[in-house]
């Protein structure tokens, strides 16, 4: 028996020796997001956006420094006098992967299709009335109202054009397992767990520095972490990686055993405060809660220092950022406010905090904040924490069932508008109470007289006027505290030493085309 077992174990290294050789200089990139469809109309997850960024081109791109640059467009949109018509000149000489020509008709086909059947189609259809072809290489967007962040919205990779010829029979339904776009890579193979991208030889722009990308999906953090550690994959994207694994990789990178890249901050972790029902319908209590959060401790304990404390709703790199909009941690100030509201004198305020039970960091946040409050303000306030599956929590949020929910907001495109409107916009209100709109979806039910008009105006003006308006909006929101920003999150990627330094673009995607294998360091891939 023992001999049989020993021979079985000995067979394992032999099987290991049967490893398939890596095809040329192609690279293996791993992520947790399963990819069920590569049709931009279906895309809503980060993993899909990352693959699409290799297969397609947007009209505009945001570089690593946050600057907007035309890609399939040749210049920024030219706006009509009333700001309701935007003309976009398009690049000539671009071919789709099926060899057909990219032109204004193709771009209009793709945008109309996205607006009609896109999961995120509302992003465009809320702002764009129609898409017109006005010349072979020029389109015109008729807007519902002036919208200054238009080029940034058009940098969303889900708006990448697809070949009308290839999608003719799929104009009103998704085409999941193929992608025919204009990007630097063409899709050579599609499987739910595996995709292969090969360089498109007739690409109009800069050719990829590698011979292709093999994308694999691994279902859990341990597997992802182990795959990079064992050298099985070349690059790892952080979505789905648990925080302790991220920290271990971060340490390896700091010690020079791995390469690390951090993308632009795109996600805000926040707590929604239900402001139309007791007890948080009292502004003084919401202000007290705002001063009760020790972000520095939370970030250190919960995210192991891998996230930055955040005191605003807009990521700091974007226009309108106001890093100190929300008050800092101030237990003495909070105590005064709790006293004003009638607590702390033998009366403790109990606040129910719900966290998403399927996200480990969320639970840790809830427990840490609970402990921190018990330590610092235990005689005034206590948290009653409850875990709830994310999908269930989201469905309860707009019903006003959750006094406080900890969740995160990730912008679909990098503009302040995409961080304020989805949380604050309100189409029907009664005083400070929002009855219908994004504020209800976000779980705060809060608005203020004139706020909606200010939000609308903030996406119609530009330059310093816009900055000032966005700062003013944030200050106004902070004073009422319907949402409590906690930390800022960004995409990260880790690669072995056998791969060149990964870099992110301004939209938070790893620039796959820049990656290349470094022959000299091929032996140094196992950290």
């Amino acid at each position: 028996m023992a001999t049989r077992l020993a021979s079985l174990l000995l067979a394992l290294p032999l099987l290991a020796a049967c490893q398939p050789t890596r095809s040329g200089q192609s690279l293996i990139v791993a992520t947790k997001s399963r990819i069920d469809s590569l049709d931009p109309v279906q895309a809503s997850r980060i993993g899909v956006m990352q693959v699409l960024s290799g297969l397609g081109d947007p009209l505009y791109a945001i570089d690593g420094n946050g600057r907007l640059e035309p890609r399939l467009a040749t210049a920024l949109p030219v706006l009509s006098g009333d700001g309701r018509r935007a003309r976009i000149p398009l690049r000539q000489g671009v071919l789709f992967h099926d060899g057909t020509r990219f032109d204004a008709a193709a771009m209009a086909f793709s945008l109309r299709r996205f607006m009609a059947i896109g999961t995120l189609g509302y992003q465009l259809s809320e702002r764009v009335e129609s898409v017109q072809v006005i010349a072979p290489y020029e389109i015109e967007l008729v807007l519902k109202r002036p919208f200054t962040p238009l080029p940034r919205l058009l940098s969303a990779i889900v708006l990448t054009p697809v070949s009308p010829t290839a999608y003719q029979r799929h104009r009103d339904k998704p085409l999941n397992d193929r992608f025919v776009g204009t990007g630097p890579y063409a899709l050579a193979f599609f499987g739910g767990q595996q995709q292969r991208l090969t360089p498109w030889p007739r690409y109009w722009g800069r050719r990829p520095a590698n011979a292709g990308i093999d994308l694999v999906t691994l279902s859990n953090s341990t597997a992802l972490f182990g795959a990079l550690r064992s050298g099985e994959v070349d690059l790892l994207l952080n979505s789905g990686l648990e925080i302790d694994h991220q920290q271990a990789l971060h340490r390896d990178a700091a010690a020079g055993r791995l390469r690390e890249a951090i993308g632009p901050a795109q996600g805000i972790a926040l707590v929604s405060l239900l402001s139309d029902q007791p007890p948080l319908n009292r502004t003084v209590l919401r202000q007290a809660v705002a001063r009760s959060l020790d972000r520095a401790t939370i970030v250190r304990r919960v995210t192991l220092g891998l996230r930055s404390p955040q005191r605003q709703l807009i990521p700091p790199d974007l226009l309108g950022s106001d890093p100190s909009a929300w008050p800092p941690y101030d237990p003495a100030g909070a105590r005064v406010l709790y006293r004003q509201a009638g607590y702390c004198q033998g009366k403790v305020l109990t606040l129910p905090l719900t966290y998403r039970s399927d996200i480990p960091t969320d639970r840790l946040f809830a427990l840490t904040w609970q402990a921190q409050l018990r330590r610092d303000l235990g005689d005034c306030v206590t948290l009653e924490v409850t875990g709830m599956e994310a999908t269930t929590a989201y469905s309860q949020l707009d019903k006003g069932a959750l006094t406080m929910l900890f969740y995160d907001w990730v912008g679909d495109y990098p503009d302040a508008e995409n961080f304020l409107m989805p949380l604050l916009s309100c189409s029907k209100a009664e005083g400070d109470r929002c009855l219908k709109g994004n504020s209800v979806q976000g779980g705060s039910f809060w608005t203020a007289p004139g706020l909606e008009a200010e939000l609308q105006r903030s996406s119609q003006v530009d330059g310093s006027d816009r900055t000032a308006l966005l700062v003013a909006i944030q200050r106004r929101v902070a004073a009422a505290n319907p949402y409590l920003p906690v930390w800022l999150s960004a995409q990260a990627a880790w690669g072995g030493l056998g791969v060149s330094q990964p870099r992110f673009d301004g939209s938070g995607r790893v620039m796959l085309g820049e990656l290349r294998r470094l022959p000299a360091a091929s032996g140094a891939r196992r950290p």
Binding site: L15, P20, Q193, T391, T392, Y407
Partner: protein
């Protein structure tokens, strides 16, 4: 009435009841999914999107219709063998099941073979000296492997053989650098049919860790079942009679006791096969094995109603089929069985 006609009647009644059972299961799943909080729109969009866009998507997916209409449509399609389309990507559910089920079955069959071989070998090894060292080790093995938490065992195996030693892949079903074999979806079979040794090697390398882990965890059941039944058989009158006729102990064990001891093991095998048809969730998740259980878990999280309903109905149908087959085989092998 003859035994054969009894058996035929029994099988006919089981098969006749199957559609009723499947209808009950399908209806229950349909109802439970709708009663559970959250809907596909929440899963797809989270807190994103204005109410109008959410309503439009709800209408696009047919979720705005009355529940009775949705149920009627679901049953109507089910009767025609149409399991509907996934809400997350619009693919036919049948195709998604066809993609995932072979992965689970391949893993299950290899693991079961391994479990049977190892489990029966260990169970049989201590029979020479009851309560001896080997028997004790077999008992401990049986209890230990059965008691091990699958996710913990899988993670340890993954860490040791994939991460530390780097002998085998961490997860997945096929090397990223190769094209998966085309055909039935059973990669071992497909690569053998294609005569592609590189594909076969790649499939095997990915299969070893999950199959070995699952196999070893299941082997304890076989070990214990064989040990107990063999000991009971060895103490029975017919074995005593065989010994008294002067037959060798080897012949007594192999020809008289073992076949009788294996009959209950066959029933256990049937039950294990039935449970493996639905996939081994923890093993599939740990090793990123794209099987049916993993797919079902994702579908539940995404509230992909048609996909959950489709998987449950198909798995239930297969379980019914397997249990009927096992009953048939046991009845054919054991003349004592009455219906």
């Amino acid at each position: 009435m003859s035994r054969r006609s009894d058996l035929a009647r029994y099988l006919a009644s089981r098969l006749a009841l199957a559609p009723l059972m499947l209808w009950l299961i399908a209806s229950l799943v349909f109802l439970l999914l709708r009663v559970a909080p959250g809907d596909p729109i929440d899963a797809l969009l989270g807190t994103r999107a204005p109410e109008a866009a959410r309503a439009a998507l709800r209408a696009q997916l047919g979720l705005d219709r009355p529940l009775s209409e949705q149920y009627g449509r679901f049953l109507g399609h089910l009767l025609q063998g149409d399991l509907g389309q996934s809400l997350t990507n619009g693919e036919p559910v049948t195709r998604l099941i066809q993609d995932s089920l072979p992965a689970s079955l391949e893993l299950g069959v290899v693991a079961l073979l391994l479990a049977a071989m190892v489990g029966l070998a260990v169970g049989f090894s201590g029979i020479g000296r009851p309560e001896g060292r080997l028997d004790l080790a077999g008992r401990l093995y049986g209890i230990g492997t059965y008691a091990l938490p699958p996710f913990w065992a899988a993670m340890v195996v993954q860490l040791v053989f994939a991460v530390w030693l780097g002998w085998l892949p961490v997860g997945g079903r096929f090397p990223a650098t190769l094209m998966p074999p085309q055909g039935t979806g059973f990669y071992l079979l497909d690569s053998l049919r294609a005569g592609d040794w590189q594909q076969l090697g790649g499939s095997l390398r990915h299969l070893v860790l999950p199959a070995a882990t699952l196999g070893l965890l299941l082997s304890g059941i076989f070990t214990n079942a064989l040990r107990l039944n063999l000991r009971r058989a060895l103490g029975s009158d017919y074995v005593e009679a065989a010994r008294s006729r002067g037959l060798s102990e080897r012949r007594v064990v192999l020809h008289h006791a073992l076949p009788n001891a294996l009959l209950p093991v066959l029933t256990i095998t049937g039950i294990t096969v039935a449970s493996l048809i639905g996939g081994a969730l923890l093993i599939e998740v740990t090793f990123s094995w794209p099987g049916i259980a993993f797919r079902l878990q994702e579908a539940i999280a995404q509230r992909d109603y048609p996909l959950v309903q489709g998987i449950v109905v198909v798995v239930a149908a297969l379980v019914v089929l397997v249990s009927v087959l096992v009953d048939l085989v046991v009845a054919l092998l054991d003349p004592r069985i009455r219906f």
